[in-house]
């Protein structure tokens, strides 16, 4: 069923009883040409592009729980491509460009709102480093601009501009093409479009092991029985280490809980995404009116999808220091996702150390913005057996060669 204004009116007149499910609930087949493990936005995007671009015939997505229920449904929905290194800028900007056309491509409103992403500098030294970063980003072809404190004051009046503020505002930089998108809609839009192209999306199907022929992986063991696969892709974020363990190798990844929280909904007060280099805090206002905010990782590795109290308190304190007027708002919800953090804060996209398996993981704290390109490059790898030009620098081999893409230090911004 194609979504349109005409369809909305027609269904509305019929009392909204005629809508069909957005995706099929198929019978699980015993074999596929390509199996993608993980039904988040990345995995669903990979399945969609495998059918759409590469015309792979039988494609399945296996999801342990329900689609979009992991980090896809737990992030703060920010999209941007303001990265320091050329490899990263190319990757993330390709993703942002896919986002820009995604509602039309999928016939599903992902509610992309390019309201800008503002990064703050709190001292003269912050500002100097920011100039350097901005110059690098401009050389990478990213649309960023430096702003003075006075310019910022015209755009975001609610910030704490007092001279005795704990984090006084010296300036900042803005990527105007950055913004937010509806995270669930990205998963559901890809799922619906993939399902329409014949992809089997199987929920409640946990991968418990791999099938092998010699050294080659030929499928997966699941809670619903064995499934053979011509090629297998994994896109499971925080659980990448667990799957790698099942396949018999280790990854340069540690899983942490990353928290986020929302305030009670209020009338429009914040018209852009604000990030602070000093505290790592970021905040935006959702279309429902809630302030959505978060900060850094919890202090130790975790597979629990909940954050710990000391970090939650730090996050709230940072936000209130920068936005004193939010002090009397109630906290509505707080949650966490399990994120797969690489040493250099860049993803790993490429062949696994075993044949027949490809990986898209290590996105850490910044996976949502990379969903379209993660899916795009994983699909390319699975269909062609070799790297896409965008994914080659992010091969696992960089940890042996030493050629890291060190955005942890390079970008100097919250992720």
């Amino acid at each position: 069923m194609r979504y349109s204004a005409v369809q909305l009116i027609r269904q509305g007149l019929a009392g909204h009883t005629g809508w069909s499910p957005a995706w099929r609930t198929p019978e699980l087949a015993r074999g596929y040409d390509a199996v993608v493990i993980g039904g988040g936005a990345h995995g669903l995007a990979a399945a969609y592009y495998l059918r759409k671009i590469h015309k792979v015939k039988r494609v399945a997505v296996l999801e342990r729980s329900w689609i979009g229920g992991g980090n896809t449904g737990r992030n703060t929905t920010i999209v941007r491509s303001n990265y320091f290194f050329p490899e990263s800028a190319a990757l993330y900007d390709f993703s942002l460009r896919l986002y820009e056309g995604l509602s039309e491509e999928l016939n599903y409103n992902i509610m992309l709102s390019q309201r800008g992403v503002l990064n703050l500098a709190h001292s003269e030294h912050d500002m100097e480093l920011m100039c350097r970063s901005v110059n690098a980003m401009l050389l990478n072809g990213i649309d960023v601009e430096l702003l003075s404190a006075a310019q910022i004051r015209r755009e975001v009046q609610t910030l704490n501009f007092e001279r005795d503020a704990r984090y006084p505002i010296f300036g900042g930089f803005m990527q105007r093409r950055g913004g937010v998108a509806r995270h669930d809609a990205v998963a559901w839009g890809y799922a619906r479009a993939a399902s329409d192209l014949g992809v089997d999306i199987v929920q409640g199907c946990e991968v418990t092991g791999f099938l092998r022929d010699g050294d080659r992986i030929t499928g997966v063991e699941t809670s619903l029985g064995p499934i053979s696969a011509g090629v297998t892709g994994m896109s499971v974020a925080g659980h990448s280490g667990v799957l790698a363990g099942l396949a018999g190798f280790r990854l340069p990844i540690t899983s942490y809980a990353l928290q986020a929280m929302v305030s009670e909904p209020i009338k429009p007060i914040l018209n852009t995404v604000v990030m602070s280099t000093a505290t790592g805090m970021y905040v935006s206002q959702s279309d429902k009116g809630e302030l959505v905010f978060g900060q850094g990782l919890d202090l130790y590795p975790s597979y629990a999808q909940r954050g710990n109290l000391p970090v939650a308190q730090t996050i709230v304190a940072s936000m209130l220091e920068m936005f004193p007027s939010f002090r009397r708002l109630k906290l509505l919800r707080q949650w966490a996702g399990v994120v797969d953090v690489c040493w250099d804060y860049s993803p790993i996209i490429g062949p696994a150390p075993v044949d027949g398996l490809f990986m898209n993981c290590g996105w850490g704290t910044g996976g949502f913005k990379g969903s379209p390109v993660g899916g795009w490059t994983l699909a390319h790898l699975m269909a062609k057996g070799d790297h896409h030009v965008l994914s080659r620098p992010f091969d696992l081999g960089r940890f042996t060669s030493g050629r890291l893409v060190d955005e942890a230090a390079g970008a100097g911004i919250a992720h």
Partner: protein, 90 residues
Amino acid sequence: MLSIPCPFCGPRGEHEFQWGGEPVTRPVPASEVSDARWANYLYLRTNTKGRDRELWCHAGGCGQWFTMERDTMTHEVFESAQISLGRIGA
């Protein structure tokens, strides 16, 4: 908030501590260590889901390093131990 049993100071709140990673042992001699073995030591981790043995430092207290067993799924803390000289990890 975790209550972490420092083997030297007794139980304290988690904000006094710093997580120090999976115990690893540096391969030697350097001249004979391949790039793959070095990467294995420097970067590759088991990233255990469940009960695991970790290094911790009582950074905001006595400053001592020790090992502790903890469940990464439930955050339950088990016993901690002083580090003996010699090998501490695989």
